[in-house]
Amino acid sequence: MIPLPLIDGRTLARVITYLNKHTEDDASDEAKRKFDEEFLYGMEVGVLYDAALAANYLDIGGLFHEVCQRIADGMMNKSVEWVRKTFHIESEFTSEEEVQIKKEYAWAWEGVDSNAD
């Protein structure tokens, strides 16, 4: 028995599911891609971060990269406030500085999701 203290059982089970699928002899690339899509898009956001850490810790490059991509896709149109809240970041920018940045790079704020979620 090999203890893995940094990963909880549920996440490990998911990782094993992923690895099983990807090492199947008769699974085509297309089947794997389809599996990945359903597998990753079915995960709750919180679980994605667990999976990223697990994949990184276990050095499973393919899974790590795909989970990161999924996290990035979910973040793409989010607001700055959402990022701070999700990642527990405190900003040291003064409100003047923030206003200045937003003024200079105004185009980057177009099309941002509202903070409804």
């Binding site: 919180g46 850490l53 793409m76 700055v80 920018f93 185009w107």
Partner: protein, 378 residues
Amino acid sequence: MNAKRPKSPRSVEIISGNDDLLLEIILLLPPKTLVRFQSVSRHWQSLIFAASFGRQHTRLHHCRRPKPQPSFLLRNVLRFFYFNPRSKHFLPFNFTSPHTRILQSSNGLLLVESRNSPYGRRDYFVCNPTTRQARKLLIDYGGSERRKKAVIFGLCLAFDPSKSPYYDVVCLRGVQNSTSNYRVEVYNSESQTWKVVGEHSIAVSVKLSNGIYWNDGIYWIRPTSRSLYLDLQNGNLGNPPGIRTPWRKAGEINKNYIMESNGHFHCLAMYLRPDMKYLIVFELLADGSGWFEKYWVDLNPIAGEMNGPVGVMGIVRGEREDESSVLFHVPGKIISHRFCDGSFEVVLDLTRDKIYVEHRLQFQRYDGYQFIETLAPV
């Protein structure tokens, strides 16, 4: 080694506190998102604008498919606007200096000329409009005595992120005390030095502007007069193949535009006759040996919009045919035409904007600069 904590940190906090992990994720975000996320914290700002991250990000995203659609910077007299034909966002864009002229756009970087006052000294910069970073080019004008000043015939930017994250600036200049020799000097952003690439004897009597970097060379194409081509490998000047555009007939307005998009080099020839309006898009063959007719567009469906001045704003070539389009500009509007289905769509309506002037174009010839949003460092 870890201090005792009452509750272990959540995964997202671990990632947030670990730059290596965080970078793996933000590397996958598009430039627009990252430019916005600089506001998250000073730490994120420093990560995002670090030159090494910018290079890595550019290299990764430039190879990805589908490639992002370009945005435009549009110049209206002394003001600039950011415009994205896809999202239709249109808003003011300010350069650091109010007296800025864009000389050229290459894969997301701009070559600009800037002055502190309307008639002040000209300085040249390579600028990334996405990150707003700029680097001043130190050009040696060769002595303080005016008559000995070497004339600069042309300045051109060569940047291809698929080949290198670094750019070159090519300077074509006269040799002091001689009117018939020219010298080619190249500045490289990795070495940050100028190097003489070649010196040749050929008369360059014309000031070269609107050069386009393509296929390892700089092209200055003038459809109705002498064109020039500079080979960047050996610094030789030559003549690219001429274009056979149809003869202009009486009563016909013919305008030609030389434009590059996504590795394709075009001459767009627009013909406006009272009874017939059309656009031919010629493309230069990949080996530069000749031109072929790529698209033929019937403009009669929008003839009603074309009773006043008309211009071509730009051509956008996507990876797939259905992503390719050409943009027309008529007073107060920009109209997009998709080649694959022949459709026309008004993508920008300025008739209520304060820059709108009836019967006049808001943006003149070559006032539209296509650029890819990128984090490429300067």
